[in-house]
Symmetry: C2
Subunit: 364 residues, 2 copies
């Protein structure tokens, strides 16, 4: 969130080992610690700095405070051949998510499609991690999660929904995959924080103040205002972003026995916990589709290659780099960071040093 020019570069394996050891120090079993670190590192590798090591302290503190169960008994509580609900036993979403996603893929292996809802879980990292797991098995994967409230639906003056992301990926044959990973809010909360730190106004269409009136003042959003859903106000389609966010919230929350809407518990230890609880933890929803349940996978790969090339050849708007295929920026970040390491801004380095002190795991 700070100025990227101030970042220091760290070797990936150093950060991975540190992260694993931090989780293990909090009582997380070895394989689970490795899995959790893999999800966090994937975020930093892919350039999504807000969801990777920047959050390690949050996870660690919730574990240390007993608010997240380090040794969950993850179990299927209801199922049919093509569906399941998983109870995450209040484990790390970084562990529960991959386990539930694997169940969705196993079901797809057997019947062609698998859909798995998860309740009683916690934040699962980047949504895009999960369809990448499906890609590795030659499947189309979907992932969604609900999250604590930040977004005011159109014509509501209250935070009622999280930034509730949707991710899905499609494999090409010779082209790289199309990887969609998007919040259903107009903008990420992190962008409001950056504007506030730099004392700059935010664009109209991102946020409302505590009364629900449009604002370009980031402090008015942070101090009791809300983000707007994708689309912004009613005139520009904000009701659609709200509907998408509601869809994610219902599939992840109401359908799984998790909390939904304004009752989703917060990620950070110091954030306000809603008075009312309507379920357990937050919720996720995973889907997996076998491509050969629809089309010859080789033919699908060729179609995706053609789709990508057709779209890349689209005439650019003058003065812009032209159309971007979803997943391109993250893949480019990953190539650069795999080669040279992961840049961490001073604020994140300070957090990691604090985690090092708290956990007794040396950072540097």
């Amino acid at each position: 969130m700070s100025d990227p020019s101030e970042a220091q570069i760290y070797p990936i394996e150093h950060l991975r080992e540190f992260t694993e050891r931090v989780f293990r120090s909090a009582g997380v079993p070895e394989a689970d610690a490795r899995q959790a670190a893999d999800v966090l590192l994937a975020s930093d590798l892919r350039g999504i700095d807000s969801h990777g090591l920047a959050r390690l302290q949050g996870y660690y503190e919730l574990l240390a405070a007993g608010r997240i169960n380090p040794k969950p008994r993850i179990r299927v509580v209801r199922e049919l051949p093509g569906t399941a609900t998983v109870d995450g036993d209040n484990g790390l979403g970084l562990v529960v998510g991959p386990a539930a996603n694997a169940i969705a893929m196993e079901k797809a292996d057997v019947v062609g499609s698998g859909w798995v809802g998860v309740g009683n879980t916690n934040h699962f990292g980047i949504a895009g991690y999960y369809p990448l797991q499906a890609l590795a098995r030659g499947m189309i994967g979907w992932a969604m999660t609900n999250a604590s409230k930040l977004v005011a639906p159109v014509w509501s003056a209250e935070r009622m929904l999280g930034t509730n992301p949707i991710a899905i990926a499609f494999p090409g044959k010779t082209e790289p995959p199309i990887v969609i990973d998007m919040a259903t809010s107009a903008v990420a909360y992190g962008k409001i924080e950056i504007a506030m730190r730099h004392q700059k106004p935010i664009p109209e269409g991102w946020a409302v103040d505590a009364s629900g009136a449009p604002t370009t003042d980031p402090t008015a959003m942070v101090g009791g205002g809300s983000l707007l859903p994708l689309g912004g106000d009613r005139e520009r389609g904000g009701h659609k972003g709200y509907a998408l966010s509601a869809m994610v919230d219902i599939l992840c929350g109401a359908l799984t026995g998790a909390n939904w809407g304004p009752f989703a518990p917060p990620f950070a230890l110091r954030q306000h916990v809603p008075e009312r609880s309507v379920g357990r933890g937050i919720g996720h929803f995973f889907g997996a589709l076998r491509i050969d349940g629809f089309l010859d996978p080789d033919e699908f790969g060729s179609q995706i290659d053609d789709w990508i090339r057709t779209f890349r050849a689209s005439r650019p708007v003058p003065g812009t780099p032209g159309l971007v295929i979803p997943g391109d920026p993250e893949r480019e970040a990953e190539a650069a960071r795999r080669a040279s390491g992961i840049p961490l801004v001073p604020a994140v380095v300070n957090d990691l040093r604090a985690v090092a002190r708290q956990s007794g795991v040396p950072f540097d």
Copy 2:
């Protein structure tokens, strides 16, 4: 699309019978004509005037010109227990869509979830019709379709994608269902046409001109410009609307053997047909989920009731009617129109009279 105050009210059954007879006059078998009329009337009943009888002439002319097959042999060309691809044999989407959606529900009946892609089909009416069919069977239903190009992805100056809608519905227990039915464009094309007719500017964020520059001039969009995806420009999240539209396009087109992206054939007889074809017709994608594959359906209904009441109780933005539950406006329109009939504006009445002359079926 004209001024609603000029509308004349017609009895539902009169319009239904006329529509059925028009389809039959074009060679559509009786049961299919009834099905097709039901989809169109559902649109008019629900207040979505752009997708109902306003399009009857379009369907009729394509049938009469031999561009749509009135007697399709709809068949499953590939399947697994939880998936299928259906070839619509170039039939009416209003007939192929319901048949394929029924297959998705039958698969969900057996294994819990069913996902059916459809290629070689045509426009299927309102996307919201299909999850309503699933609701009637106590399931959660999804529907998507791709469509002919109107939308320029962020930083592209060309129409590359359709308005590619997504629909999904969730049943309440005592509350009415939540029904989401939304295009992935910032706005419907019809709103641009209305602004053009009234010589009024359109809001910033709806459209770009032929060079890809933002425009508030509706004629600049219609004459070679494009709609923007949900979110509008890059700063306000237009890349997310583009990604959603791409997701719909790939599931409906690339995965089913249909045309995708800029190659999706147009709906109207007089519109330009793309030179290149990458598949057959357009494509749809249907999903059905058995609620008891996830949660006790009674408990889910209670959760949805609670969700709806919680959201309705949200503090309204002053000067607005407050938060709207998705599906409310359409349900209210349906109640009013079931009671008093369907208002048709003069332009639509003129079209229907033209269809009456073309088909020999009397209108009034």
